[in-house]
Symmetry: C2
Subunit: 386 residues, 2 copies
């Protein structure tokens, strides 16, 4: 049996040409450039990658991360007589996965795919359709707008940009005011992440069409690019040192001036993923006078939680905290062990101390965007209800 599985695995790796050329059931990935036939996704979610590189000695497909849903790479591509390299991976997990090619050792985008800002670079990505859920698809519902808003930050002494989701019909009702969710990307990503990889706008469009969430404005800024003047550009870990100040001193006042928001703490939320989860928790818990809703998607929970001292003592009076912060929400995918475990342990410790924190698990997904899409889809309906 083991041998049969090995043979099957081998044939999946080497026989992709026959599949693709024999009119099989595979289709171009939705993340491909217009007209690009590869990568192709098979009905069982195996993926065939292909690249023309006649002069190369070695071409590999590299999944972005240890196991981001594409399985364990690298995948060695096989050259045909014309210099076209091909490989078929085992079935992928549905969702969005970063990847790149390695051509004679040089990390390169796949020229057939769109790029997405991740891994601190313009990175190839593949969208693997999910047959079981469609909450992030572009549907025939009213769509909000994404607005690119430039503003000057005194903290960083530079022009910065925020991407702002305004819900459908924002322009129609000139008196309606909206609550605001500040939503942060992860390490190596940018303000583009939550819409281009995460599809936050479509998730909200669909929730709103189903009347499952309150209409809200969503603000996405760059938490990797918020250094004060004079910070050495090579100090990567310091590139977000000033992000909390940017949010509190520059971004929130600008948003409340430029958009029809309800500018109080009862109508302001902050959430983020991974590094952005840390930022959301840090900024939210340090400013409970400004935020009443806090969401952590795949954040690393602190160890040895102590309600009296952790997070600056904000939990020292649990009853007061529960009145003050209306939703404190933690989620992670079950396939991202360290994040899931540490988050769950933290929430259990909080609950034991009488703090009404919520724990949520996404079945089967790893430290990747599918987890965070599902997190947003669960978190957003809880906002601005109370």
């Amino acid at each position: 049996m083991k041998r049969l599985l090995m043979l099957l695995a081998l044939s999946a790796g080497t026989c992709s040409l026959c599949w693709a050329q024999a009119g099989d059931d595979s289709r171009p990935a939705p993340s491909n450039l217009p007209g690009a036939e590869f990568p192709r996704i098979h009905s069982d979610l195996r993926i065939t990658f292909r690249a023309s590189a006649p002069g190369a000695q070695s071409v590999q497909v590299i999944p972005g991360g240890n196991d981001n849903g594409l399985g364990k790479g690298p995948y060695e591509m096989v050259r045909d007589e014309k210099g076209v390299w091909t490989v078929t991976t085992p079935p992928a997990i549905p969702g969005f996965h970063y990847y790149w090619l390695r051509v004679d050792g040089f990390a390169s985008n796949d020229p057939s795919s769109r790029t997405f800002f991740g891994w601190s670079k313009e990175c190839s990505g593949i969208e693997v359709p999910d047959k079981t859920q469609d909450f992030y698809d572009v549907k025939d519902v009213p769509h909000g707008e994404l607005r690119v808003r430039w503003y000057y930050s005194r903290v960083t002494a530079s022009w910065r940009r925020a991407i702002v989701y305004t819900p459908p019909n924002y322009d129609r009702g000139s008196d309606t005011r909206y609550p605001v969710l500040y939503l942060q990307h992860g390490m190596g990503e940018s303000e583009r992440g939550w819409t281009e990889q995460g599809r936050a706008n479509f998730i909200l469009d669909n929730l709103l069409a189903d009347k499952k969430a309150q209409p809200m404005v969503i603000v996405m800024e760059n938490g990797m690019n918020a250094a004060k003047p004079g910070t050495p550009p090579t100090a990567t870990h310091r590139q977000n040192e000033a992000f909390e100040e940017v949010v509190v001193n520059d971004l929130i006042p600008m948003i409340d001036a430029a958009y029809r928001t309800i500018p109080d703490k009862e109508h302001r939320a902050i959430a983020g993923l991974s590094m952005g989860a840390g930022q959301a928790v840090q900024i939210g818990l340090s400013h409970t006078d400004r935020f009443s809703y806090i969401g952590s998607f795949s954040g690393i929970g602190i160890r040895n939680f102590d309600p009296k001292t952790s997070y600056g003592g904000v939990f020292s009076d649990p009853a007061a905290f529960n009145r003050n912060v209306r939703v404190l929400w933690f989620g992670a995918g079950t396939a991202e062990a360290s994040w899931a475990t540490s988050g769950k342990v933290l929430v259990e410790a909080m609950n034991k101390a009488g703090i009404e924190a919520v724990w949520f698990e996404v079945p089967g997904t790893s430290h990747e965007w599918q987890t965070w899409r599902v997190c947003l889809h669960n978190f957003a309906p809880r906002l601005f209800r109370k």
Copy 2:
């Protein structure tokens, strides 16, 4: 003397390491990824490119096009003992230039640079600062917004997106209505081109701050991706077959419904660059009941212009045409010979026939974005004045 120049040229090509490492006057290109030290632009506008590719046999820098301002490539990079490849080009023309690397023959993005949609792919680009003009810089002036607007096209039977520039304070005055400019990119580009490469939004922000243009909405859509259902995806030349129908039947009605426009022909303009110039002229002249202003930036002018028959006979009564179309504008860079010559010849023939077409030349620039930025900067102030 000739030998001295050759030596200088050689030293520029091979001695870049000493320049870059000796604290010379070079700076990271503004189009680099955050924190990326290369490519670096020297004060005389030579550019040093660098990439780490220890396993490669050959690495080149390829300018995107015959002479797009980076000079004539390919430029062979030179390997050091650690596998880091470097080359310094001759001085570049200021402006935005597409380029890519070729690693053992494989076209790859430069991992240090942002990507821009051009050449039908996610393509590296370098912004070379212009010391003589700053009309497209991000300045301390009120900024308009860029809005991503999804809409359903009946023509293509698909969800499409437009990028819409709304001028500063659009949200403040709920009664003010605006004229609209439809603005098209070139072959192999997308709706992102005019803002990411062209900086159309900053050009308008700055013109408006100087009171040199009328406040207007600008609409940018994808003229490369407008095929009717059933069109084979490989039929590249047919991907824009239906664009005229999309604009007239779907896009204009959507924009006039979604934004506070002045929905008449006196307040509607269309312009584009290269392929988009052809689309703008074609759509504009075929629908003079909808457009009063038409701009062609580096379009190929038709030969043997005949006022009686060319463009469907729209010029057969020059006086009527001049009353009807308020600005018909053609421009090109002097360094893009075929475009400049054919456009100039066309405008001369039109003028001779009594048609008030305008001809404009951008000194020294080629078939590239610097030409089109200057064109927009000259064209936009002429709109919606009469």
